[in-house]
């Protein structure tokens, strides 16, 4: 919970990791990729305030104590959601696995929700394993990495028929929140695995599922927004938007927030700090203090209300994940305003 100016905010960090990218965990022969990956993440941290930058050795592998401190002792987070990324091709025990997340969550009851992941290239065996993980860890969501390398394959698409089987299984198991990494393009070659068109496809087909597009499709927010206005079950995951822009590029942050509010509206934006790329403390405090600057270029966008910020920082995610919000932290008047979008006139 975060309190400022007499207002209380229930904070859900919907995008956190507990990873091990230390050299001991690098697969032999794949060191270049394992090292390049974590250094790439580390460079992103450079977009946050200088006093929050970590040295690379701490960033490669951080302790449980540090994570608990950064999120819950000083970071204002009430509930954190783990989003695993396996990357077993490069990291021996995986980079950030469901199992590692679940082990940590088990030691701190009530603090974490554990999401898992799937990869349709694993066929029927993977389907079975998914079901086991969901039942064992009580997962209500999955995090998908469509660009993950696997043998000769440089990624997969949600449009693949195999992916549909997994999404059907998710529906059956009550795993209704499908987080998809659609962020800054990294590896895929001409087959662009971070293109958002495959989300469009499955959002239409799977109306019972929520599709949270992490990093709002950056660097293609326009494709994402246009798609999201057509699909009522598509949400914007704000990891990278807040962490990567609010401090480093405040004007663009304002524009991006303005556009997201304009096209998607206050009920579709989901905060995530993306720990340990960025710590939640400065993001939560900064976002509560932030508002649309008075600037001619931003005149299309209204300021954010306190209620809108409460929704974005936690109440929207709480709704998707059925997280119980203490009465004093709920909105007094839960009426929501329809997103503006652009009327067809």
């Amino acid at each position: 919970m975060y309190e400022k100016d007499g207002e209380k905010y229930f904070v859900v960090d919907a995008h956190t990791h507990f990873w091990d990218a230390s050299p001991d965990n690098w697969v032999k022969g794949q060191e270049e990729y394992a090292k390049g990956w974590i250094e790439c993440f580390h460079a992103y941290q450079g977009l946050g305030p200088k006093e929050t930058h970590w040295p690379i050795d701490r960033f490669q592998k951080y302790s449980e104590e540090l994570m608990m401190h950064d999120l819950f002792e000083v970071g204002h987070v009430d509930t954190a959601i783990f989003q695993p990324t396996n990357l077993r091709q490069w990291y021996k025990n995986g980079f950030n696995t469901t199992e590692a997340d679940a082990a940590l969550a088990a030691k701190h009851p009530g603090k974490f929700l554990v999401n898992t992941t799937f990869d349709p290239r694993e066929g029927d065996e993977g389907l079975k394993a998914l079901e086991e993980r969901v039942k064992r860890y009580g997962c209500k969501g999955v995090k998908l990495y469509t660009a993950e390398w696997r043998g000769d394959s440089r990624g997969w698409s949600l449009k693949d028929p195999e992916a549909a089987k997994y999404l059907e299984k998710c529906e059956e198991l009550g795993v209704k929140n499908i987080h998809i990494h659609k962020g800054p393009t990294i590896w895929p070659l001409d087959k662009d695995a971070f293109d958002v068109s495959d989300v469009d496809h499955v959002a239409t087909d799977f109306q019972g599922l929520n599709f949270i597009v992490e990093h709002v499709g950056l660097p293609r927010i326009e494709d994402f927004c246009f798609m999201a206005t057509q699909e009522r079950n598509v949400y914007a995951g704000l990891a990278v938007v807040v962490g990567g822009l609010m401090h480093a590029r405040p004007k663009f942050f304002a524009k991006v927030m303005g556009e997201l509010m304009f096209w998607l509206g206050e009920d579709k934006l989901i905060f995530g700090a993306d720990y340990a790329i960025w710590e939640p403390k400065w993001q939560v405090e900064g976002f509560v203090d932030w508002n649309m600057p008075a600037d001619e270029e931003l005149s299309d966008f209204p300021p954010l209300t306190v209620d809108q910020k409460k929704k974005i920082l936690g109440l929207n995610a709480a709704r998707l994940y059925d997280i119980d919000v203490p009465a004093e932290l709920r909105l007094k008047d839960p009426e929501s305003v329809e997103p503006v979008g652009v009327p067809n006139s």
């Binding site: 941290q45 450079g46 590896w187 001409d190 950056l218 822009l245 942050f253 991006v256």
Partner: protein, 229 residues
């Protein structure tokens, strides 16, 4: 260094200034992607390019290195050209492919199925949208019935015309200011079209912001050092 050599370096720098990051629609020289640009007394040019992350998409990277090669190779008087992308996971493949004048598919044998024309086309289409917002926003009047000739001259207008020409779209004074780059027709719903143009511009500029910030963090640059090569 002689004046001649200084002149050659300036000519090479200017040539690099015509090469754009296809997605951001900004010159490599402004983005800080040129780490080194030298021409020795014998007219041999050495150019090193760099990108914001180790994993920047290899398709964009390939386009930029190949375009830089073509642009600099056209500078008169050069006797040799050594152009390379540094610190990228696909540096070797890209550098070899560009030096051998191979296409993208041949360079990434078995990993790529298409040349990059479609990708480039998509980005130019977006550049037209973003450019339309830039021009219309400073106009202060309803752009719906205006032509390009109604807009006061500006670098933004020149840039918009250039991008429209790249797509084969009309770009003369009498041609309409609002034009859907995908269809080449006047948009039916101008309000929606302009909102999308604004969004496209926001997207490109936000990306450019992220890229610049990442490059700064990666190479410990100050803001002033960006774009100095």
């Amino acid at each position: 260094m002689t004046t001649l050599v200084l002149g050659a370096r300036a000519a090479v720098w200017a040539a690099l200034g015509t090469v754009r990051d296809p997605e951001l629609d900004e010159p490599l020289t402004d983005l800080g992607f040129v780490a080194r640009c030298e021409v020795d007394d014998d007219g041999h040019a050495v150019i090193r390019l760099r990108l914001p992350t180790y994993f920047c998409a290899p398709n964009f990277a390939f386009l930029m290195v190949a375009d830089a090669y073509d642009a600099v190779a056209g500078v008169p008087g050069l006797t040799g050209l050594d152009i390379r992308l540094d610190d990228h996971f696909a540096s070797d493949v890209i550098n070899r492919g560009v030096a051998a004048r191979q296409g993208f598919v041949a360079s990434f044998e078995g990993e790529a199925v298409d040349e990059l024309d479609t990708l480039r086309y998509d980005f130019v289409r977006k550049a037209v949208l973003a450019g339309t917002d830039r021009v219309c926003r400073s106009l202060g009047r309803d752009p719906r019935s205006l032509t390009l000739g109604d807009v006061p001259p500006s670098p933004d207008l020149d840039r918009l015309r250039a991008r429209r020409r790249e797509l084969g779209l009309p770009a003369e004074d009498g041609d309409p200011l609002l034009l859907d780059p995908a269809t080449g027709t006047t948009p039916a719903d101008a309000k929606r079209y302009l909102a999308f143009a604004r969004l496209t511009r926001t997207s490109m500029e936000a990306n450019s912001g992220v890229c610049r910030g990442m490059l700064r963090a990666r190479y410990s640059l100050t803001e002033d050092e960006e774009g100095t090569g």
